[in-house]
């Protein structure tokens, strides 16, 4: 009986921790320095975005693998593979959560996103002016994640939000357009947007996916 109780407890705890677990290819958010007035970048303190690429065992320790894109003057810079410390700029910003498109990626799409991100690791690829957010040659952090999702046929942010002059897509906008990756939260958030209770981005009601072949492949990537 005692053993059964113990087994049951372990099972429940195991299921509970899995229910909220980060999944490979989730888009993850932290803070950052914006360089723009607060009211121009949205009402959330989000400044940096990356792709969670899973975990690996290194020296007997579990290590998070995060692929993001930062200015070239960072060390490491450009599209890079890092862990929590570098992603949060030496733990100087909080971690704000893991999200995906409302149509959650399949496991094949998740594998493809991570494989593509790994294949794009380059020392210099950042668009400091944000004129080129989604590539094909240069990216910024939020554009990089947008690009990866679009390549597998998903579209985190409606296209009218992520094109145009200046810095059209901000981490806050992508955060609002995506959903927390927990089964219980997804449907509710989508319903909230449909009911327009949040009503921040009315274009969310017509989220479309983009066919993968429509999206340009970076020339550096094609060469490989």
């Amino acid at each position: 009986m005692k053993n059964f109780k113990r087994f049951f407890l372990i099972l429940i705890l195991g299921l509970a921790s899995q229910a909220f677990s980060l999944e490979k290819a989730d888009i993850i958010y932290t803070g950052g320095w914006f360089g723009l007035p607060y009211n121009l970048i949205g009402d959330l303190p989000l400044g940096h975005v990356g792709i969670f690429a899973g975990t690996e065992i290194k020296d007997g320790k579990i290590k998070a693998v995060i692929i993001d894109c930062v200015p070239d003057y960072f060390k490491p810079g450009g599209i890079r593979k890092v862990s929590w410390k570098h992603f949060t700029h030496n733990f100087s910003y909080p971690y704000y959560g893991n999200r995906t498109t409302p149509n959650k990626p399949s496991s094949q799409q998740r594998d493809a996103i991570v494989a593509m991100a790994n294949s794009m690791l380059k020392p210099k690829a950042y668009s400091l002016t944000h004129e080129s957010q989604k590539g094909p040659d240069k990216f910024d952090c939020v554009g990089f994640t947008e690009y990866l999702y679009e390549k597998v046929g998903l579209n985190p942010t409606p296209d009218d939000q992520d094109s145009g002059w200046g810095w059209p897509l901000t981490p806050s906008e992508q955060f609002y357009a995506t959903v927390a990756n927990t089964a219980a939260q997804n449907s509710n958030y989508i319903n909230l947007i449909r009911k327009k209770e949040l009503n921040l981005y009315p274009s969310m009601s017509a989220v479309k996916t983009t066919a993968a072949e429509d999206i340009p492949i970076p020339s550096s990537w094609q060469a490989e």
């Binding site: 803070g31 007035p37 607060y38 009402d43 733990f91 971690y95 704000y96 509710n188």
Partner: protein, 221 residues
């Protein structure tokens, strides 16, 4: 004539000029709350001029735009004066939504020594009084995340027990932030607890990875 004379005297009077300048400075900051140069000017003037400090503190209220209030809180707190810290902390206690999000971040940035109680209230408000079935309370959650982060930035070992008490009621996002904050507490107070998390096979790999990384930080590896 009398009116013109009065105006000339007023314009030449240093205190009038200063008052006018300070009002302009606050108006400019209200219009551009993200301007670091203006925040720095407000900070310097509030440190040297008590009457300007009072004006700035008076503008720190729930009626003004959140971005302006937070810019003021950052500016006046940089003077290291108790009354500035206290006002910012007390305002945090009654703030909601965006103001709560940015004031909790400011409390951490400025290491406000009076903010811990209000930061804890913000975390508890999310953990125990919010709708967690969807994202209706997402701003409460962001404020709670900022509050956990701020407790770490302030670094008082006294908050360790509180952070421990939040751990089991928190989802994965909050748990990762709790680990980061435990790792920042002075005297490495959080290390034994973080080790327990890292070695716990029932915890998710993502959370354990954060714990392992924080252990490396604390042990200087």
């Amino acid at each position: 004539m009398l009116k013109k004379t009065f105006l000339a005297i007023a314009l030449l009077n240093p205190s009038f000029l200063l008052a006018s300048q300070s009002a302009d400075l606050l108006s400019a900051l209200k219009a551009n709350p993200g301007d670091e140069s203006l925040i720095s000017q407000v900070s310097k003037l509030s440190a040297s001029d008590p009457s300007f400090m009072d004006k700035a503190l008076n503008d720190m209220n729930l009626e003004n735009p959140p971005a302006y209030v937070c810019a003021l809180a950052a500016a006046v707190s940089a003077s290291n004066q108790d009354k500035a810290y206290l006002k910012a902390a007390m305002l945090l206690g009654s703030a909601k939504g965006e103001l709560s999000i940015c004031l909790s971040k400011t409390a951490g940035d400025t290491k406000n020594p009076y903010a811990s109680r209000y930061l804890e209230n913000s975390i508890e408000d999310f953990l125990y009084n919010s709708d967690k079935s969807g994202e209706k309370d997402i701003k409460k959650k962001i404020a709670a995340i900022n509050s956990i982060w701020a407790l770490g930035e302030i670094g008082s070992p006294a908050v360790m027990k509180k952070l421990e008490s939040y751990y089991n009621s928190s989802d994965e996002v909050l748990r990762i932030n709790i680990i980061f904050s435990m790792g920042k507490l002075k005297n490495k107070k959080g290390l034994p607890y973080i080790k327990k998390i890292a070695f716990n096979p029932l915890e998710s790999d993502a959370v354990r990875s954060a714990a392992y990384e924080m252990i490396d930080e604390l042990e200087g590896k």
